[in-house]
Symmetry: C2
Subunit: 291 residues, 2 copies
């Protein structure tokens, strides 16, 4: 249980009689979850084999590690008899890798979930009870293995909706493509902006001399996600490298065009470009068109 | 009086007995300022010659138009006898252009100010009384014309500090360089990110089909300033084109390196790069080092 697992437990514990077993990697996390009564039981374990409970005592198992570690868990689960397993889901940010792992085990009762509510805060102490409310959860309808029973899709969808989430289905390829553009590349761009800005010596020195940093709200917003959670993002990068590279190359092409126009003497393009980008922003984010 | 001018008046009107004359371009703005009692008097005028008051009745004149229009006003003021002028300042986002204008008029009592509290909201109805509190105001110590009297610097500095601002002095070149990196390029990058993201058809179509947009808080933050105020930004672009192009080229070089490493099989660079960008972010924004 990290930030998302603890928040999931916190959202569920309102339901009386529900048995929630949490698994953590450190004694400190175990103590936090116990003292905040986030689960009915909590185990400190490094893997499935350490767990002192039988998985089939539960209806649902939610994997909450970074995506590569979730893949390792899925392999371990796939090696077990499917009869002794509950429905399994996860909360990872990339999907093709996990679908490939799952495809090796035709009986594995796994449906991938991506609740879009990650943040730069990590660990169970960053728990937020309403984390899933009004957020999007993408369920994966695999394009590379036979689909799970519709009943399981319905149940899992109901589970997330019960927490206030909106549910949307995509295949793993579309998911990874869209998320590269709408989440992964913007995260890298935020980190890049921090690095490039700090690399220019005059900027750094003058900013240091100022009584308060020379940063408006715009830059602060753009740098909020810079450098977040290296472990999780290493996995995202590794498992969605092609689409991330593709979206960065698109950005690079856009940047080339922008530099060319900025350097030209013509400024007629500007108002149109700026208005279009505002329309684009409003469409992407679902805001009313205010242009 | 736009958003910043109205906010300036709103911050000042607490001082009893102060005469605040506002100048606006539209009847609608005039009515807003009158009905909200933001000034002791307000004039709708298209230029200095329309004004029914003598400027030397005032201690300070604050130009609050986009930078090119402020330059035109400065030229008009420069053509007048300096004896009939109060101390003049402004609130523009770029400085070299205005210093060049002012350099043509050795007697013009002008010291440039850049209060760093612009926003994507425009017009007097976006008034914020505490807009200047805890914000940075950069005063320009010109490197291309003889400096104003120190007394005037002290008075202007006192004026901004009275509103709760922190004051920092830079020459116009350093200002424009640093602001290109810390404000102008990030604004363009936000617009670019919106445009590039929306240009990819699958991303656009899938995002449209989703019950709520597939955008985490990260992307929303990065797109907040996309497409803001085309008129103001056209002027910024025009008057700081070289440094903006320079910072965009630095970003392009950083993006090239990033694409190369993302496409390589090696992931060892990642944690170091991500941690460095977090340190850089924290230094730029003045946050505690939390890495």
């Amino acid at each position: 249980m990290g930030m998302m697992g603890a928040s999931l437990a916190a959202s569920l514990r309102k339901d009386p009689g529900l048995r929630i077993a949490g698994v953590v990697r450190s004694q400190k996390s175990k103590e936090f979850i116990e003292s905040h009564e986030l689960a009915t039981e909590v185990y400190c374990a490094s893997g499935l084999s350490d767990l002192p409970v039988a998985l089939d005592e539960f209806d649902l198992m939610v994997l909450g590690m970074p995506v590569n570690a979730n893949g390792v868990l899925l392999e371990e689960l796939g090696a077990r008899s499917a009869e002794n397993l509950p429905l399994i889901t996860d909360m990872s940010s990339t999907r093709t890798y996990l679908e490939k792992v799952a495809a090796q085990f035709p009986d594995l009762p796994f449906i991938g979930s991506h609740p879009m509510c990650g943040s730069e805060d990590t660990g169970p102490s960053a728990v937020k009870e309403e984390l899933f409310r009004n957020r999007l959860v993408i369920l994966i309808r695999s394009s590379i293995r036979s689909p799970e029973k519709q009943e399981n899709f319905d149940n899992l969808s109901q589970f997330w909706k019960h927490l206030g989430s909106h549910v949307f289905e995509l295949n793993e390829r579309d998911h990874d493509l869209v998320l590269a553009y709408l989440s992964h590349a913007p995260h890298l761009l935020s980190s890049l902006l921090a690095t490039v800005t700090a690399r220019r010596p005059e900027v750094r020195n003058i900013n240091r001399q100022s009584p308060i940093p020379i940063t408006g709200g715009g830059l602060r917003d753009m740098l909020r996600i810079a450098g977040s959670n290296p472990e999780m993002w290493r996995d995202i990068l590794q498992t969605n490298r092609n689409y991330i590279a593709e979206s960065l190359r698109d950005l690079r092409q856009g940047l080339d065009e922008l530099i060319q126009t900025v350097e030209s003497d013509d400024l007629d393009w500007w108002a149109g470009w700026q208005n279009q980008s505002r329309k684009d922003r409003n469409e992407i984010c679902g805001y009313n068109d205010d242009t």
